[in-house]
């Protein structure tokens, strides 16, 4: 079937099989930041934005994405750079495999809630698994980034 997707701001047309997963389509189109982790919808590694919302590209048919807008880390480098260094400074990346999923979901979090509390960060990133680090480093990195912007959350309440 023929599809048309807006990928990282550019129109992409393609002829695809009905069961092609979005993750495979994206990798075929050069978006190698999008990785396979569990492929059972549980790890968040394959996170991309579909119509501004974070979704698991391992669990979406490319056919469902027809006519929609997809962003991957390749198209969001500038936005990611703002806070990725703060995460690295905390040694939160060890093997680094989980990083693209974390960064994509953090972008989604900060767009939705620019000044999250620590509990809101934990809740939003709960679907991103990291086998190495224990999550505190990522949390500290995001907190330091937020504090560096001078927009401090109180870090205690969770509204979700």
């Amino acid at each position: 079937m023929e599809i048309k997707i807006k990928l990282n701001g550019k129109d992409v047309s393609a002829s695809i099989e009905a069961d092609l997963l979005l993750i495979d389509f994206l990798r075929e189109h050069g978006c190698y930041s999008v990785k396979r982790g569990c492929e059972t919808s549980g790890c968040g590694l394959c996170t991309v934005l579909m119509d501004e919302k974070p979704v698991l590209s391992c669990s979406v048919l490319t056919a469902r994405a027809d006519g929609h807008e997809i962003w991957t880390l390749e198209g969001l480098q500038e936005e990611a750079q703002e806070f990725a260094g703060f995460i690295a400074d905390q040694g939160a990346d060890q093997c680094g495999f989980c990083n693209p999923g974390f960064v994509m979901n953090t972008i989604a979090l900060l767009r939705e809630n620019p000044n999250p509390t620590d509990d809101e960060i934990r809740a939003y990133l709960a679907g991103n698994l990291c086998r190495c680090s224990g999550y505190e480093g990522q949390l500290r990195g995001i907190r330091n980034y937020l504090d560096s912007r001078g927009e401090k959350g109180n870090g205690h309440t969770c509204v979700l």
Partner: protein, 265 residues
Amino acid sequence: MISIQKYVRAKSLEEAYQLNQSRANRVIGGMLWIKTGNGSVNTAIDLCDLGLDGIEETQEAFLIGAMTSLRRMELHQGLNTYTQGAAGAAVRDIIGVQFRNLATVGGSIWGRFGFSDVLTFFLSLETFVELYQGGIVPLEQFAALGYDRDILVRLIVKKKPGVFAYRAFRNQRTDLPVLTCALSRMEGEYRAVIGARPGRAIVVRDEEGLLSGGQTEGRYNAFSAYVARVVPMGSNTRGSAAYRTHLARVLTERNLMQIMESGGK
């Protein structure tokens, strides 16, 4: 992963229904559960163009389209105000935001999964299921039925005045629940709903009047113990039947205390 030969975005419910009459075809919601299986689907029937992805609030009810995502349900202000936050509490530990942006209310209710937080929650409300062919049936009745080839169009939640509470117990956040427990009191009627038994959620009413005649700790204990006694439990890798029975008593009692504190007296 399943293989799919053909993908169709249905242009009408009638088209979706007709396509779904073939056993080789399958409706896809968020596709998350379907994807855990194997096998082959001839035509994947997508309902995404039928305008069923929103929650409409009227004076009397919430109309929740089958394609509404769990995330939308979690954040819906009207539904959360009506249920005092129980709607959000019911789904917020289901994997992660990215997952809940995909998983649908329709797929969750159609699946009638034993572990379902979603089914447990909606059974504690005055919920009806609108089926394309089968018409409008109470969720409690639908939950006990087997699978057929109908299409779930929407849930209808009647706004019966009430108080609601939701708790689930998980060994770890984002894991499947060991036990789910929703409690409501609507127009004087109490319902405790217990799911992840690990069988499908079931509703327990206060048939012995244990909660009538004033709210005391003794009455809460009595009703919680009654719920734990009458709900059949089983064992699996997440917990034993005896453990679940214990959890049912504790979660029911905590929910009772919560609704009493939030105005259920």
